[in-house]
Subunit: 160 residues, 2 copies
């Protein structure tokens, strides 16, 4: 196996394993758990969960894999903070969307060739990519894996 193929396998399997742990935790947390603030005066589990949905949904378009499924999530969960108190989709709804978004995302990632993993994502111009070939799909997935781990480290604190 070529080093580039090995890399893709590491990154894809790593991301899937992050997702699996996150989903397991989210399934263990009740809706009531998620409604709590993780730390007093800080974000609720509800907001963090919605934020993860919005960011993963956005990966689909950012990576040039198709249209995001729920682009409206960005307004509530990325562009505004929890305390802006905009109306949020319910946790029940977020649970359904989470599975849907990540199923679509992983399916699309799994269909990429190694060359496509090393190709640029949509937020970088051809000119910039020529200078910075590390701004590829691979690096986005690694960095979103980190982002997921960061918030899972917070959600786990809601467990009793």
């Amino acid at each position: 196996m070529e080093n580039a193929d090995i890399t893709v396998q590491i990154v894809l399997e790593g991301f899937k394993s992050n997702l699996k742990k996150a989903t397991k935790l989210l399934n263990e947390l009740s809706d009531k758990d998620l409604l709590q603030e993780i730390v007093i005066f800080k974000n609720t589990g509800h907001y963090v969960f919605g934020h993860l949905n919005a960011v993963h949904d956005n990966m689909i378009s950012l990576l040039g894999l198709g249209e995001s499924l729920y682009p409206e999530l960005a307004e509530v969960f990325i562009k505004n903070p929890d305390k802006a108190d905009l109306q949020k989709p319910s946790i029940v709804q977020l649970r359904i969307q989470w599975d849907e978004i990540n199923l679509a995302l992983v399916e699309k990632l799994e269909s990429l060739t190694t060359a496509q993993w090393f190709a640029k994502h949509t937020a970088v111009s051809d000119e910039d990519f020529a200078k910075e070939p590390q701004r590829n799909r691979l690096s986005v997935v690694i960095s979103r894996g980190n982002h997921l781990a960061y918030h899972v480290g917070q959600l786990v604190l809601l467990k009793n």
Copy 2:
């Protein structure tokens, strides 16, 4: 640039950027902040900080880059939980060790060739590596980057 070289650059720069954010946050947190439990009845910042020191120190030997600097940290911060209440090095001491450990670690990582990044780490046998070539140094650094992000997501909650 070859795809394998691009990969190494993404992973190394990504890890260094994670470290930089973590260190910035740790410098913003006072010793008093770090002594608090992140969430009532859960780990203190002191323990999480020590845990990160122990895990990064262990990376040096795990990756075959030399001897760990403070192998004794593992007993207090990996093998035992916070509530075991073993005597911990002070936060002042941990701050010094954190810089020392990560300086050594990054210096050693920076000196690796691309081929060495794709070589096996010390916890895998030649036989297993032949079957699973993804158990290389690269994958350890990606996964430790995730681990760091997970705990930084918790430490950030100690900020007022």
